[in-house]
């Protein structure tokens, strides 16, 4: 039985990692056509740093990810603090409203935001992508923070007041540090969601502004630039290293 379980796990992991293996292999493939192995090379890694389109898309992805996660985290924190104090029924109602962008189909969210931005006379571009990403990131961060905030005993805050702290000081020195794990998790989740989002970005971006997913999509018809495989491989291993470091130090966070 135990053996059967291990085999099952192995098959699932094979299923999950097979495409990743293929991508990594392609990043070292001499040929620029996929599925056609002509020899080992590192040239795509070199040309990656000369490919301005990809580097631009990368920097857009990172900055949109970072700022949308940051704004969403601050916004979600403020909202969660207020929602902690409203009744249970109202809280559930607000949370459902906030969750609409998660529960709704990405394509509908993307199209509806595009219609809104155009309806307001906004020019589609970096700003509209950032705004759209904040929209779908807020509920993710709220989902991370709310449970811990609810579970946080009010007496922590009261203890700080009792010891002479002003309400603001009590919040920054006690409540915020106690919430740090969930705030951190929310930020990270938001960044990940933003960096991997394709559909909403696709509809809310303007001409000439690309994130990595939309750049990849536009290359599909003509064939992906192999530099993209090189970049993905680098990203994958960077995250692998971070994850390993995180796993080794996870008590500290």
């Amino acid at each position: 039985m135990a053996k059967l379980k291990t085999i099952y796990l192995a098959i699932i992991f094979l299923f999950l990692y097979a495409p990743i293996g293929v991508l990594i292999a392609q990043s070292f493939n001499e040929s620029r056509y996929r599925g056609n192995w002509t020899g080992f090379t590192l040239k795509w890694y070199e040309s990656l740093f000369e490919n301005e389109d990809i580097l631009n898309a990368l920097s857009n992805t990172i900055s949109i990810g970072f700022f949308s996660a940051l704004i969403a985290t601050i916004f979600a924190l403020i909202t969660c603090l207020a929602l902690r104090e409203v009744g249970k029924k109202w809280r559930a109602m607000f949370m459902s409203a906030a969750n609409v962008p998660i529960l709704n189909a990405d394509i509908v969210t993307g199209i509806s935001l595009m219609l809104l931005f155009l309806g307001l006379g906004m020019k589609l571009g970096y700003g509209s992508i950032l705004l759209a990403h904040v929209v779908f990131n807020v509920p993710y961060v709220m989902l991370c923070i709310m449970p811990q905030l609810i579970a946080l005993d009010k007496s922590f805050y009261e203890a700080a007041l009792d010891l002479g702290a002003s309400p603001f000081k009590a919040f920054t020195s006690v409540v915020l540090p106690e919430l740090r794990p969930s705030i951190f998790a929310g930020f990270l989740l938001a960044f990940t969601m933003s960096a991997d989002d394709f559909i909403i970005t696709y509809f809310t971006r303007g001409a000439g502004v690309d994130t990595l997913p939309t750049a990849i999509y536009s290359q599909l018809k003509l064939g992906i630039h192999p530099e993209m495989y090189a970049l993905s491989t680098l990203v994958f291993f960077t995250i692998l290293i971070f994850v390993i470091l995180f796993a080794m130090n996870r008590k500290k966070i």
């Binding site: 379980k5 796990l9 699932i12 299923f15 999950l16 990692y17 097979a18 495409p19 990743i20 293929v22 991508l23 392609q26 996929r34 599925g35 403020i78 909202t79 603090l81 207020a82 104090e85 409203v86 607000f94 459902s96 409203a97 906030a98 962008p101 529960l103 709704n104 189909a105 990405d106 394509i107 509908v108 969210t109 199209i111 509806s112 935001l113 219609l115 809104l116 929209v135 807020v138 609810i150 009010k154 309400p167 990940t192 991997d196 394709f198 559909i199 990595l212 997913p213 990849i216 999509y217 599909l220 992906i224 993209m228 495989y229 993905s232 990203v235 994958f236 995250i239 994850v243 796993a247």
Partner: protein, 275 residues
């Protein structure tokens, strides 16, 4: 944590404005476009278009493929999560990380990699040929699209289910066995009902994106397989018929709302008592 209701409401106000402008007004835009024609007059002709054969066929295929993907994900995820929970103590962290890691790979690229695996001279067929087995070409079929959906959305089934299963007190399972229940009986009398909320949210989280995707079908369906998502995307990016695109989006949202109502009904019956 606020000294007065006024301050609390001050904190709540930005969200209310935000939700109004960026969540509800956009939906009103879609509804408006969906029920007007190109001249801006009220009209249901776009909504009626869904009953045209080609659109209806797309919707039908989308629902069938999304359902199949969801069911396969559910069937794959249950044993997987049970094994993961069981091994959580010994090797839990490593297994969980191994499982989460692929999520950070760009999904478009890894879906594309399935092309390389499944195509005519792809890795799968080369392996089969190596073992002198007949070719098995899946690319550009609905099966390939389903594989792509499962690959993309399996984690969304596994995560809520894993959380639900790991919350089940082990002594409950031991109690069931102690009372004479077989492994199978323990599963469907104890584990299944207790993990149902997790499974329900997993089903939602797989079904909705699978129903509405257009990237996976574009990558693995070879452009021949038009899902409802592809149709909507085309209306917005090639045909520039926003009214028709919006009307089709409204149809999609009906599915989503029905799904949400079902989920909410389950949520309420499993309301947590703590708080």
């Amino acid at each position: 944590m606020f000294r007065s209701v006024g301050i609390r409401n001050l904190f709540l106000a930005p969200f209310c404005i935000w939700a109004g402008v960026f969540i509800f007004v956009p939906l009103i835009f879609i509804a408006w476009y969906g029920v007007t024609n190109a001249d801006g007059n009220f009209s249901l002709e776009n909504l009626e278009m869904i009953f045209q054969t080609e659109f209806f066929r797309s919707l039908e295929v989308s629902v069938i493929l999304a359902l199949v993907s969801t069911i396969v994900c559910l069937i794959l995820a249950y044993p997987l999560c049970l094994i993961l929970v069981e091994r959580a103590k010994s090797a839990g962290l490593i297994i969980t990380l191994l499982f989460v890691l692929p999520l950070w790979m760009n999904t478009l690229l890894s879906t594309m990699a399935w092309q390389t695996i499944l195509e005519k001279n792809g890795i799968l067929n080369q392996l089969l040929r190596f073992f002198s087995l007949p070719d098995f070409t899946l690319i550009n079929t609905s099966a390939a699209v389903v594989i792509g959906m499962i690959y993309n959305y399996l984690p969304y089934m596994v995560l809520p289910l894993y959380v639900a299963l790991s919350k089940i007190d082990l002594s409950v399972i031991e109690a069931a066995k102690d009372l004479g229940a077989s492994t199978w009986k323990t599963f469907y009398k104890i584990i299944l009902p207790l993990s149902l909320p997790g499974a329900i949210s997993g089903v939602t989280m797989v079904f909705i994106p699978a129903l509405t995707t257009f990237a996976i079908s574009a990558l693995l369906g070879g452009g021949k397989l038009l899902l409802i998502g592809n149709v909507i995307e085309q209306e917005f990016t090639f045909e520039y018929d926003w009214h028709l695109g919006s009307a089709l989006s409204i149809v999609l949202m009906i599915f989503i709302v029905v799904n949400m109502i079902i989920t909410l009904a389950f949520d309420n019956s499993h309301e947590e008592t703590s708080d």
